[in-house]
Symmetry: C2
Subunit: 257 residues, 2 copies
Amino acid sequence: MAGLGTPRGRLFLVPAPLDFGCDVVTDVRQTLPDASLRAAASLAHWVCENAKTARAYLKRIDAVHPLCVPIQAMQIIELPREVHKKGDHDGSFDARHLMTPALQGHDMGLLSEAGMPAIADPGSSVVRAAHDLELEVVPLVGPMSLMLALAASGMNGQDFAFVGYIPSSPAERVARIRALEAQALGRGQTQLLIETPYRNPALLASLLQTLAPETRLATASGLGMPGETCRSASVKTWRAKGWECDKSTPTVFAIGR
Amino acid sequence: MAGLGTPRGRLFLVPAPLDFGCDVVTDVRQTLPDASLRAAASLAHWVCENAKTARAYLKRIDAVHPLCVPIQAMQIIELPREVHKKGDHDGSFDARHLMTPALQGHDMGLLSEAGMPAIADPGSSVVRAAHDLELEVVPLVGPMSLMLALAASGMNGQDFAFVGYIPSSPAERVARIRALEAQALGRGQTQLLIETPYRNPALLASLLQTLAPETRLATASGLGMPGETCRSASVKTWRAKGWECDKSTPTVFAIGR
């Protein structure tokens, strides 16, 4: 156990490029600032969603800034499976035991599969645990698909919500889309949502069938990758143009006015 | 007028460091990836909130990547005053006339005072205009205080809303805080809000007086600057610790469970 005088480690929230799981692999310097890469390269203790992809990302960082210890010598802990499935934002998972290295004085990193950990991804239980143990929490700058998509939508960025995934059963989905549209048009609060890529075409079809012709719909697909496309137009225009959304590219959808 | 064969320019959404208007000035490479700085250095046509601060930022970029033309030779257009005051997300300001350089084939940049344009800042009218003119819109990666704060809060990042500023009159403010708390506790939707820095202590006092003892409150102050501090704890703990929030540091507040 660390003595009273041992300085505690910090928890760094380490963003990842948005191309995880996609065919293309970009240079990490394209979307991560140098300070974030340097901080990541200095860490030997990690909590992540998936150790295999974490190691792949660490190799990409190593090509830019040599890692402080070989990957094989790092401690890389995966969040438990149940956290992947149902998320860890409801307080039911206590992650304090994962913070032992920090209590022993080691800085730690939290990593998710793409973008910022704990946003549209697991990890918030780890951040909460760090605060509860009075560890310093340091978020690092990197790509955040939701905000890139929001800025590129041209919709209200002074009042917005991210609602995650919406139901996939047809009746529930239509009801949810109508409720989101009411928020977007009535209060003027832009509504952001995502879908598992292979269901993108089905979600787009539901949106185009359900939303009113004058409602604005935006998509941001393949952010940070070659072929990145940001669209924003009325539903009427979407229908007239016949724009589509492919089933292999991560996409953020936005409903607004 | 450009002929049919003239390629149109693109609109780049250029993020700025979070230290605008603050005493400290960080190296832009700390929080902006190389691709964003290179893209910004290649632009000679800008739309911004304030030409003076835009020029100051361009000088900082020039120190890293030489600008394509001298700043004096750039076209830097300010958004009109009424847009600063009441925002431009309601569709009342038509920004298409600002896009003339892009129609003539020049890439353009949109810039706000800190962070990402069009998020918690003006600029969405310009993005909308670009889409309406079928120009390509390219959001660049950079620091986004709201998402850094959300990730660092340890609160729900699968369902969240940013509500901007809340009323400053005491009765309205209390009512609004209660409504936000109800959303945060009932639906589990994290609520993010901001305040003009000099009013931070008053907002914090209202939150600590109004929220229930078990409600979680988080702040992220001075993100990207020396002394950056992220706190997250129950209101009860906040009161017991006597944590404060200073009146000169940009701060994001979050209410959650």
